[in-house]
Each structure stands twice: as structure tokens, then as C-alpha cells.
């Protein structure tokens, strides 16, 4: 079947995107629509002394100007973090209040304090400039070190010392004991730099209130519209769920940043009721830099203990994580359960202990960004392994191989139970692809030409398919992480799949159709995928954490099994056969071993006419399933990067980049490769280019694409991808997930390659030509 599982089917959704017919939130235009523009704090930390809206109210076209105090007066709830973490002393995390618009204190540059609603975009922006806010500036803690220093400015009264939690995982005593027996210890300070997510579509919200029905509709740039509705309803007091419809239409990339519920969509909803007019807000790029949740930003001390045979016997990690000025929706889980649980890497490490201290700073909130905790873990592990190989003077590939987990299932000391994998197979595939044996000769040739050549490895593992609801519930999650599906077979045999997954670039309309086409032997053109609308899909948890294949498609399988079982009963009844003898081939239900058959459209019609069904059977052909995963899935692989550095300029050129991934079953290899390409670009972007930089006053110095170096086409190489496969035993399709691996695995490979080339392991990201040049010369001076 050419359109089934494993086929490189071109995407169904592409025609609207390549012809300009995509429908994104900012494309929505409603009758009588107004525009919102926010007044934002220019200070990183300040008291609001007064807000005078009189001049703004008098400006042309202004409908209303609303402030944080009015939000409080209308009893709109504060934003929340939905994952409870307890400190090692048993106390719950210290969550400071986050009103959607600050009534008293602003805590980061860009913190909203008021909003102007006006007839046009320009009128709203002009009037926002005219709102007079008097601030009393307060001392600023702009980074982790400043926030934890003695006498540091206090951000929230709830969090003394700016510490949100001090959390640990693993057995501290056993790990310390292992270190006493070590033949060698490798220790490193590791900085994981701060990033801006930068989906190309800026966030946007269009809110409409129907006063007769007391009903809201919100179009918004969301990766999980049902979760948005749940949170807006249950915690922010906007409206009951049955009075709030959330639609996430075409969404132009997410990368995590569109998981969270932000102040602006709350305010748009509230303002639409207050003004009686539909309200649109679309952020500009600088607002996106200031308000989209940032990613990463860890300071880590790590120590790895080896025995005399170079086997790892212990790992100790202490990480400080910056969560910004307020706790975003899932921020608490990222540096804890999404990070420290992956600190075993691909390796058999008997003793691990990690401590994570998350702190407030006067910066934009930090939350999940592509990979969310796992890139930080793989960066720690793979920088450590490469450094260990150099210190122990052994081959970096062989040091890894010697320590690989080879028996499955494997219980790590940090919660995760790896179900399956073949780490040696992906390492071998990558070594072959890059011609590792030929590297010394290539390095010598570069040297003869005055260039420094280096090679760097990364053998990453990550956890996807989040997640078993009971397990994450026990770890503090405020939600279950199952997925739902409804299969509607129409009376003429076309099929609609209603899914709680949400596509914002992943191509679900194609891959989900391929799954159904494969099962029934029908063309994908007969199948429609419906998602992103709480009025159409009953409920769903959305798309993040590479979960839509492993969890979302598993829900489709479960619902399809029910549909197929009912259809077989109908066919068996009509053909006077046993339902166990009915097989589905090429869109027909056949009695095996005979020429008796009924085509799918006739089965569907029979189900809906109800003229000739088995006794007691309900008419119709529509089934629902909720799939709750049994375990995380564990995509893993090896990335090898080969670079050539010009010692005269410090500029890094990619010579080769190879990726060998094990994602389990691939539904559409073309789409999987695209996901890897994009992830690699983001991981390499962090290594070489990107950095969200604050000055000591908490001003974001990189708040436009003029200042924040996004990877561009000529910054990146073409990639060589390959796959090894072990099927995931935990879900019906054997899928592991592919959406984040590129971003998780690539960053350490690049830094390992550059540090190998220049012979100096002390190199912070981004490895700009300036930094690399200085590292080369620092090393030469030391020699």
C-alpha cells in the first residue's frame, strides 16, 4: 500500500501553505473587531507608583484602557504552574503570584501593566505610548548568580533567597561511597545557555464574547487548546468550560513556547467581555522575545567517577536552574523530572545523585523549549563523556561503548526504566557514516593547510511519549498525559479522525491518515484529520514532548480497533460468516477463503441505515478511545560532528554532520527526517549562534533578529541521516518519537568537535568566532 505506514507520502496540508491559504490566528477577522496593545514595563524590577490612563483614553479610536487592578477587581485568577515539586526538606515549591497584568510590582522587562483596546492596530499602539506609568525602580537580580548571592534582591515574598525549590533525586550516600572507590574522577562546570524559542509565527489571540449566550470563543496560537481551556476555566476564572471554545487553527511552529497559557490571551478574553467587542492581539517580534517563555539557562557542577577499567561507578550533579520572574505552566518539571531523570544517559551507572535548585530572577519566565530538560541532560552527560575520554586518554567512542546499557529492560537509579534500545548499533552506523577510521588522515591534511580539525560525539537518550498518567501524577503533574481519538466513519465510507493531538508543523494530517489508510487499505484522500477545536474534539492533551506518534497515534489505533470490530460483526452478520473469518483488504471486508466481501462504504451505509444489523447492535459507526501510555519511550542515537576551525579567525566550518537515530517505527520517513533536520538546526544554533543575553540591569540585549543570531541557511550544513530500529514494546505501533532528538543530541556533538579541534575544553556557548579565537589563543599561551 503506497500510502501506508512507512511510505514517503507528500503532505496533505501543504497545498494550503504553499498557496497562501493557511489560516493562522492573525488571519482571523471578526465583525467589529478591535485591537489590543499592551503597556509593558521598561524596568526589570520596580514598584508601580501610579498609572494615568487619561491621555490614552482621549486618543482617537480608543475603546478602553484596562489595568492590572481592574483584573484583580474582576477576580481574574493569577497564572499558575501546574506541576508540584517538593524540596528535599519536604516543603512544596514556593510559587509567587503572577497576575496577568501587574497591579503593584513588575519583575521583568516586558511585564504587562495595562492594555489599550482601540479600533485599529496603530491607534492601540499610539495610545499605549500615551499611558503614563510612574515606577520606583528596585534592585535587580538578572541571573542565577545574582539571585542566590547574599543580600540579593527579593523577587517574591513567598520565596526567601529567591529559591523556588531545592530538589534531589538518587541515593546520595551510595553515590558518595562510590566516589571514595574511584580510580579517576572527572569534574566539570557546565553552563547551558539561555535561548529564545522563536517560532516564526508570533503569538496571537482573537477573543469574542457572546453576551446573549454568555459564551467566549478564543482563537489562539496554542499547541494544546484543550489544556488552554481547562486552565483558563478552572484556574483563571474566565468562564466555565462549556462557555469557552478554544480554537488553535494553523499554528506556525511551537517548539514548546505555545504550550503555556500566557497573560495576553487571558486579557484578550476578559477585555472582549468588558468592551463588548471582539479583541485581537498579535505580538510583534520584540514582544515575543520579551514574553515567550525562554529555554535552558542552567549552571551545573558535575563529577563522574570511574573505576580502573574506565567503567562509570558514580555521577554527582548539582544544577542551578533559572526559572525567570514567574513560574510558567510547566516550568518546575523541566529542570527536575524532565532533566535529572535522563542523567544516566545511554550508560550503565550504578549510582547517581542530583540536586537541582531552581531560582527566580528578573528575567522572562523560562519553561519547556524543544527537548525541555533532556537537551540539558544530554549536554551534561556527553560533555562529561568526551572530557573523560580526553582525561583518561581513551577513544571517546570506545569509552562510551564500554559503558553502554546492553541489557533491557534497564532500571536506572533516576526513575527511568529503559525498555529497549541498541546503542552500539547507532554508534556503529554513525562511525561508518562519518568514516571515523579516516579521521586522523583528514586531521593531518587540515593541519598541513593551517586548519584545526576536530571530531565530537554525542550518544544521546531522551524520554518521549509523555506519559503514563499515574506515574506523572505521582511525580506532581497536575494533569494526566493520555491522548484521545474519535473515529467517525461517515455513511458513505469516508473517515474523520478527531484527535487531541495538535499539529503546528508536524504533518499530522498526513501521518495520521497514513495509519488509517494502512489499516483499511483505502487512499488517504478518503480520510480527514480534525484537531485544534474544543467544540469538535472532546478532549486532548495536545502536542509537545514528541508525544503525538507514540501517544496520539496509539489512541487512533485503539479507536480503529473498536470500529473495525463492529464493522466485522456487521459483515459477518450479513454474509452469514464468523466475525473471526473477516479480513480487511483494499477497503473491503472479506470472508477469508471465499469470494464473499462487502466494501467499506456499504458496511458504513449498513451501519447507518440500521436495516440489517445483528440483534441488539446500536446503529452508527463511530468509536472513541483514550490511550494512556504504559511507559515513557526512549529514542536514542549517536550524532557525530566534524568541524574545521580557522585559527586565524576562530570561524568554525562544518565538514560533516551525521545522525543515526533509533525512533522505533517510522510512519513517514520524509517527515521524520524533516523533524530531525529542524531539531539539529536548533541544537547547532545553540552551540554556535543563539544566546538570549541580559545585562546586569535585566535588559534583554537580544530582543530582535538583528541581535539574536538565528541559524540561517548559510550557517548550516546539509545533514546525513540514518536510522537503526528497535521497536518500542510499550505502544501498539512501536513508535518512540522524533520531534526533539535533533535538538537534544546535536549541541554537545558540536561543542565536543570544536573543543577537540582547538585543544581547549573551556568553551562556553555560543561558540562564536570571537570566543573560539580567544580559546585557541588562551590555550596557546598556556602551552
Amino acid at each position: 500500500m503506497s500510502e501506508g505506514i512507512g511510505a514517503r507520502v507528500v503532505r496533505k496540508e501543504d497545498k494550503r501553505f504553499i498557496t497562501g491559504k493557511g489560516k493562522y490566528t492573525d488571519d482571523v477577522r471578526l465583525h467589529g473587531m478591535t485591537y489590543a496593545s499592551f503597556v509593558r514595563s521598561p524596568h526589570a524590577h520596580a514598584k508601580i507608583k501610579s498609572i494615568n490612563v487619561d491621555a490614552a483614553m482621549a486618543m482617537p479610536g480608543v475603546v478602553d484602557v484596562l489595568t492590572g487592578q481592574q483584573l484583580v477587581d474582576d477576580k481574574i485568577g493569577n497564572l499558575i504552574c501546574g506541576w508540584m515539586i517538593h524540596s528535599k526538606d519536604g516543603t512544596p515549591m514556593k510559587m509567587g503570584a503572577w497576575p496577568a497584568m501587574a497591579p503593584e510590582v513588575v519583575r521583568f522587562v516586558g511585564n504587562a501593566v495595562a492594555v489599550v483596546i482601540a479600533e485599529t492596530r496603530n491607534q492601540a499602539r499610539d495610545a499605549a505610548e500615551a499611558v503614563e506609568v510612574v515606577y520606583e525602580e528596585l534592585p535587580v537580580a538578572a541571573d542565577i548568580r545574582a539571585a542566590i548571592a547574599p543580600g540579593a534582591p527579593q523577587l517574591h515574598p513567598e520565596a526567601p533567597g529567591n529559591v523556588i525549590y531545592d530538589w534531589t533525586i538518587g541515593d546520595e550516600a551510595a553515590t558518595n561511597e562510590a566516589f571514595t572507590k574511584a580510580a579517576n574522577v572527572v569534574a566539570m562546570d557546565i553552563v547551558n545557555s539561555r535561548l529564545s524559542p522563536n517560532a516564526m509565527e508570533p503569538r496571537s489571540a482573537v477573543a469574542e464574547y457572546d453576551s446573549a449566550e454568555e459564551h467566549f470563543t478564543l482563537y489562539t496560537t496554542s499547541q494544546n487548546p484543550h489544556v488552554a481551556r481547562l486552565v483558563l476555566s478552572a484556574f483563571y476564572n474566565i468562564a466555565a468550560e462549556n462557555k469557552l471554545r478554544v480554537i488553535a487553527p494553523d499554528v506556525g511552529g511551537g517548539f514548546g513556547s505555545k504550550i503555556f497559557i500566557y497573560p495576553e490571551e487571558m486579557v484578550a478574553l476578559w477585555a472582549s467581555k468588558r468592551t463588548g467587542r471582539p479583541v485581537k492581539w498579535t505580538c510583534d517580534r520584540t514582544e515575543a522575545f520579551l514574553t515567550d517563555a525562554h529555554g535552558r539557562d542552567h549552571l551545573t557542577k558535575a563529577e563522574m567517577a570511574f573505576d580502573k577499567d574506565n567503567k562509570i561507578i558514580g555521577l554527582r550533579v548539582k544544577t542551578h536552574a533559572n526559572l525567570g520572574a514567574y513560574m510558567s505552566l510547566f516550568s518546575s518539571s523541566v529542570p527536575t523530572y524532565l532533566y535529572a531523570t535522563l542523567l544516566s544517559g545511554q550508560y550503565n551507572i550504578p549510582n547517581i545523585f542530583a540536586e537541582v535548585i531552581s531560582v527566580y530572577t528578573n528575567t522572562t519566565p523560562v519553561d519547556a523549549y524543544r527537548g525541555a530538560g533532556r537537551p540539558e541532560a544530554s549536554f551534561v552527560m556527553e560533555r562529561m563523556m568526551e572530557t573523560a575520554a580526553r582525561q583518561l586518554k581513551v577513544d571517546p567512542a570506545e569509552l562510551r561503548r564500554k559503558n553502554f546499557v546492553t541489557q533491557f529492560p534497564h532500571q536506572t537509579p533516576v526513575i527511568m526504566a529503559y525498555d529497549i534500545g541498541d546503542f552500539g548499533a547507532s554508534l556503529d552506523a554513525a562511525l561508518n557514516a562519518i568514516d571515523y577510521a579516516g579521521f586522523p588522515a583528514r586531521k593531518a591534511k587540515s593541519k598541513a593547510e593551517g586548519k584545526l580539525r576536530g571530531i565530537g560525539f554525542s550518544c544521546y537518550i531522551e524520554a518521549c511519549g509523555i506519559a503514563p498518567s499515574k506515574a506523572v501524577g505521582s511525580l506532581g503533574a497536575g494533569v494526566g498525559l493520555w491522548e484521545s481519538c474519535e473515529v467517525r466513519v461517515n455513511p458513505v465510507g469516508t473517515i474523520e479522525i478527531l484527535t487531541g493531538s495538535h499539529s503546528h508543523g508536524q504533518g499530522h494530517e498526513t501521518t495520521f491518515s497514513q495509519l488509517v489508510a494502512d489499516r483499511l487499505g483505502i487512499p488517504t484522500s478518503q480520510i480527514s484529520i480534525i484537531h485544534g477545536d474544543t467544540d469538535k474534539v472532546q478532549f486532548g492533551m495536545g502536542t509537545y514532548g514528541s508525544r503525538s506518534g507514540a501517544v496520539g497515534m496509539s489512541a487512533i489505533v485503539k479507536a480503529m480497533e473498536k470500529v473495525e470490530a463492529k464493522a466485522k460483526k456487521i459483515v459477518a452478520h450479513q454474509l452469514e460468516a464468523s466475525e473471526n473469518d473477516i479480513v480487511i483488504e483494499n477497503g473491503e471486508f472479506k470472508v477469508t477463503g471465499t469470494d464473499k466481501k462487502i466494501a467499506l462504504p456499504m458496511v458504513a451505509l449498513a451501519a447507518y441505515t440500521g436495516h440489517n444489523l445483528p440483534d441488539g447492535m446500536e446503529p452508527g459507526l463511530k468509536e472513541t478511545a483514550f490511550y494512556d501510555p504504559t511507559n515513557f519511550t526512549f529514542p536514542a542515537g549517536t550524532y557525530i560532528c566534524e568541524v574545521e576551525v580557522d585559527p586565524g579567525t576562530g570561524k568554525t566550518d562544518f565538514v560533516n554532520f551525521v545522525a543515526a537515530d533509533d525512533f522505533g517505527r517510522l510512519i513517514n520517513p520524509m517527515i521524520v527526517e524533516g523533524q530531525v533536520h529542524g531539531g539539529l538546526a536548533q541544537g547547532i544554533g545553540q552551540a554556535l549562534l543563539e544566546h538570549a543575553v541580559y545585562d546586569q540591569n535585566g535588559q534583554l540585549m537580544t530582543a530582535s533578529f538583528m541581535d539574536y543570531a538565528m541559524p540561517r541557511a548559510d550557517d548550516l550544513p546539509s545533514f546525513k541521516l540514518s536510522h537503526t530500529t528497535t521497536l518500542c514494546p510499550g505502544n501498539p505501533l512501536g513508535i518512540k518519537g522524533c520531534g526533539e532528538a535533533g535538538a537534544i543530541g546535536s549541541t554537545p556533538a558540536v561543542i565536543n568537535a570544536i573543543t577537540d579541534a582547538i585543544g581547549n575544553n573551556n568553551l562556553e556557548m555560543p561558540a562564536s568566532p570571537n570566543r573560539v579565537w580567544h580559546a585557541i589563543h588562551q590555550q596557546q599561551a598556556a602551552e
Binding site: K21, Y24, A199, M200, H504
Partner: protein, 161 residues
């Protein structure tokens, strides 16, 4: 306020707009041509690229007045009925897009690149020429493939005409 007259996708258009109105807002808000996107406001990302008199221009930093009397083509104007432009076909066939947001600007930029190089392109040139278009999804790998593929298709199409 100013009255401007221009041709958009072959149709004569006139509008009374504020002097500060940007071309992208005329296209999106007044003409309903929402295929042209805004991604950065600073001429960096290229999501807003249209053709003005056949040249790729960033419409988020072009005042409508600057396009007065000009011939503007947007992503909605490059296919002929149901027949897609070869660049559109190449992006679909090579998986040169994911979320689709940067795609209209990429396609409009890429058509201009192929025209300027008369189809004689290699990977290095395409990567260099795409410097003014940012994509966050694809890592550019398949966009570069798409443009190179389309360059061949456009040569064939030009030869056939």
C-alpha cells in the same frame, strides 16, 4: 491619508490609507491576502516577501506609498488556476515546509533567486541567497533541495513556453 493605486496579482487596486501604512498591512487587512506573513518587523526573516515589479521585496518595511503605481505579486498570485508554480510544487515534493509560516516568503524569495541566476544554482549559492529568510522548522535542508529542484523545473517550464 493618501490615495494609492497599484496592481496586485493582476488586479487594479486603489485605497485610501494612512501615510504610515505598510504594504503588508494593505495586503492583509485591506485586500484579505493573508498569505503574506509578518515574522519580525525588522526585515530579517522574510516571511513578508512579495514581488514588486518582479523583484523580491520585504513588504513589512515597505510603505504603501512606495508601491504606488507598482505591480505587486503575492503568494496568492503565482499559480495559474489549479496549476501550481514549479517552486510551489518543488516545496511540496521535497518537504520544504513544516509549519508553513515562513513558506510564502521563502517561495517568493526563491523564485526571485532562480530568476536572477537564470536557474544556474548550486547549494552554496542557494544557502547564501536565502540569508534573508529565516525558517525555524526545517533546518533549511529540504528548502535548499526544493529551490535546486525548482530551478530545474523552471528551466524546463521556460523552455516549453
Amino acid at each position: 491619508m493618501s490615495k494609492v493605486k497599484l496592481t496586485v496579482n493582476g488586479k487594479a487596486v486603489s485605497a485610501d490609507v494612512e501615510d504610515r501604512t505598510l504594504l503588508v498591512h494593505l495586503l492583509r487587512d485591506h485586500l484579505g491576502l493573508t498569505g503574506t506573513h509578518i515574522g519580525c518587523d525588522t526585515s530579517q526573516c522574510g516571511a513578508c516577501i512579495v514581488h514588486i515589479d518582479g523583484r523580491a521585496v520585504k513588504s513589512c518595511t515597505t510603505l504603501v506609498g512606495q508601491a504606488d503605481g507598482a505591480n505587486v505579486t503575492t503568494i496568492e498570485g503565482i499559480s495559474k488556476g489549479d496549476a501550481l508554480h514549479p517552486m510551489q510544487e518543488a516545496f511540496r515534493d521535497n518537504h520544504g515546509l513544516q509549519c508553513g509560516y515562513c513558506t510564502p516568503g521563502m517561495i517568493m524569495s526563491a523564485i526571485d533567486i532562480v530568476h536572477r541566476y537564470q536557474g544556474n544554482l548550486d547549494e552554496t549559492t542557494v544557502r547564501h541567497e536565502l540569508e534573508g529568510n529565516i525558517c525555524r522548522c526545517t533546518g533549511y535542508h529540504n528548502i535548499v533541495k526544493s529551490v535546486l529542484d525548482a530551478a530545474g523545473r523552471m528551466k524546463v517550464a521556460a523552455a516549453a513556453e
